[in-house]
């Protein structure tokens, strides 16, 4: 099977056939945006200094080191894995609406707010395998720019050009599918009888 690769700028039609559980890769523009970027845009109403329309964001706070003139930003990436996407759930729908971002990459699932935003504005959420920060760094060709450096290393907006960035496992698609919610239902159903068994074996108070 050939690799499914999305390239920025991402069109709505590029996302139509993608479903939860698919594995895809990204070529092109990827910008980190996590807690502070979401708060500043959605809660504080500040304008993002980076245009994200038809592009991709990464819920990630990297380790970057200075590299002089080797890159547009003056930094190169050492280690950049995904952070817990659920922290951005509160603001993600509005974030998608206001920026026109098409691909959100992070770790773990997101909730109904994001599902709604993804359906309405044609966007998807994917997970990069958690903790695999060196693999991700190897997919970065250049750190082109950094914005909002006052937020510190993890929270700044790091603008990168990436090649075959992945594997990205689709967790929310444009059709309302939510892989983690689906999994959670399976886990919770499995949990109930198991908990009863464990409880019966561990009644230590006489």
């Amino acid at each position: 099977m050939s690799k499914k690769i999305l390239t920025t700028p991402i069109q709505d039609k590029d996302l139509e056939d993608i479903r939860i559980g698919d594995i895809i890769y990204l070529n092109g523009f990827l910008c980190t945006a996590r807690d502070c970027a979401h708060t500043r845009l959605v809660k504080q109403g500040r304008k993002l200094p980076v245009d994200l329309k038809q592009r991709a964001i990464f819920h990630a706070g990297p380790i970057m080191v200075p590299c002089g003139n080797e890159s547009g930003s003056g930094y190169k990436v050492v280690s950049i894995g995904p952070t817990t996407s659920m922290r951005m759930e509160k603001f993600e729908k509005e974030f998608i609406e206001q920026t026109g971002v098409k691909l959100i990459i992070g770790k773990g699932g997101m909730g109904p707010n994001t599902v709604e935003g993804c359906m309405k504005h044609k966007a998807i959420h994917c997970v990069f395998p958690g903790g695999c920060a060196v693999l991700a760094a190897h997919c970065v060709e250049e750190v082109e720019d950094v914005q909002w450096p006052d937020l510190g290393m993890p929270e700044s907006l790091w603008v990168m050009r990436v090649k075959e960035f992945g594997p990205l496992i689709v967790s929310i698609d444009t059709h309302g599918g939510n892989l983690f919610e689906q999994n959670k239902k399976v886990f919770n159903k499995a949990k109930e009888p198991i908990v009863e068994e464990v409880v019966a074996k561990t009644e230590y108070i006489d």
């Binding site: 920060a133 886990f187 409880v199």
Partner: protein, 299 residues
């Protein structure tokens, strides 16, 4: 060797120790992950485990932290009362953290409360965090270093139950935390459970439990059995790598306990992600050492 020279050598050793353990998993974690990887039977779970192992190899080769989130540095110290640097330990560990942050390099992860600014060097009020235990009449110091990322710190929870809720309350609490929030914390997890009479004791014990090797047992035979029953139960939910489904859920369940008040039954849960960056070093009075979590390694 005078004290100043000892302190220089100790700080240097701890800086190298702290740089090292963000890049190399301990032996027990590698063993557990290798066994779990071999048991996977779905394409997706295999791909995720393959990515994890490729990532660890890449981190070794590049000599960089395997996960970008190198945590707020915590040291769990079992310090002999006659260890020559007992009074200098905090300052030495603080300087070691600053150095490792540059040399490794580590991500800047200490955000001051109220000021809400990142200090940029991984130190701040009470950080690096030091948990102390004084060992009477010993001149050695055993230090566990731990980098817990935000992802595996988020599920952390504690609760004081009424004793009539019994161990059933503890079991339900742990299962709920793991199934609701543990799935986002980079499973397979090492689950730490603290059981005590109050919230802060249970919480701290749940974290100390994560310092114990995977596969080791609780000091009480009933506690040891409880660990096995809990691990088996959680495994049968098959949360899999990254919460994506797969074979098993945990690398292990470690429980630590303190005697409780008759009226209170407290439980604390801490989760360690698959990239459980925990290291243990025993430092002797002359600054010779053993890195006992990573066999055969010289810092």
């Amino acid at each position: 060797m005078d004290k100043q020279e000892l302190a220089v050598r100790f700080t240097d050793l701890m800086a190298r120790f702290t740089s090292y353990f963000g890049k190399h998993m301990p032996d027990d974690v590698m063993k557990a992950l290798t066994e779990l990887r071999a048991q996977q039977n779905t394409e997706l779970a295999k791909i995720v485990y393959d990515s994890m192992f490729e990532n660890l190899a890449a981190a070794e080769k590049d000599n960089v932290p395997s996960c970008q989130d190198t945590g707020v540095i915590q040291y769990f110290v079992e310090c002999g009362s006659r260890f020559p640097l007992i009074g200098e330990l905090r300052e030495c560990l603080t300087q070691a953290t600053i150095r490792a942050s540059k040399e490794a390099p580590l991500r800047h992860n200490a955000v001051e409360i109220f000021i809400e600014k990142n200090s940029g060097n991984n130190t701040g009020v009470r950080i690096p965090y030091i948990d102390w235990e004084i060992i009477p009449d010993s001149d050695e110091c055993t230090i566990y270093g731990y980098m817990a990322g935000g992802g595996c710190s988020l599920p952390g929870a504690a609760k004081v139950l009424m004793p009539v809720e019994g161990y059933e309350g503890i079991v339900r609490f742990v299962f709920d935390v793991i199934c609701e929030r543990g799935i986002n914390a980079c499973p397979p997890l090492l689950v730490g459970i603290g059981i005590a009479g109050s919230c802060e004791v249970a919480s701290m014990l749940s974290k100390r439990a994560l310092m114990r090797p995977i596969g080791s047992s609780n000091s009480n035979p009933i506690g040891a059995e409880f660990e096995k029953i809990m691990a088996d139960g959680l495994d049968r939910i098959n949360i899999g790598p990254g919460g994506l489904g797969g074979v098993k859920t945990v690398m292990g369940v470690n429980v630590e306990q303190a005697a409780r008040h008759p009226s209170c039954l407290a439980v604390g849960v801490s989760t360690g992600c698959w990239a459980h960056r925990r290291a243990g070093i025993r430092v002797h009075a002359d600054m010779s050492y053993e890195l006992f979590t990573h066999k055969g390694v010289t810092l």
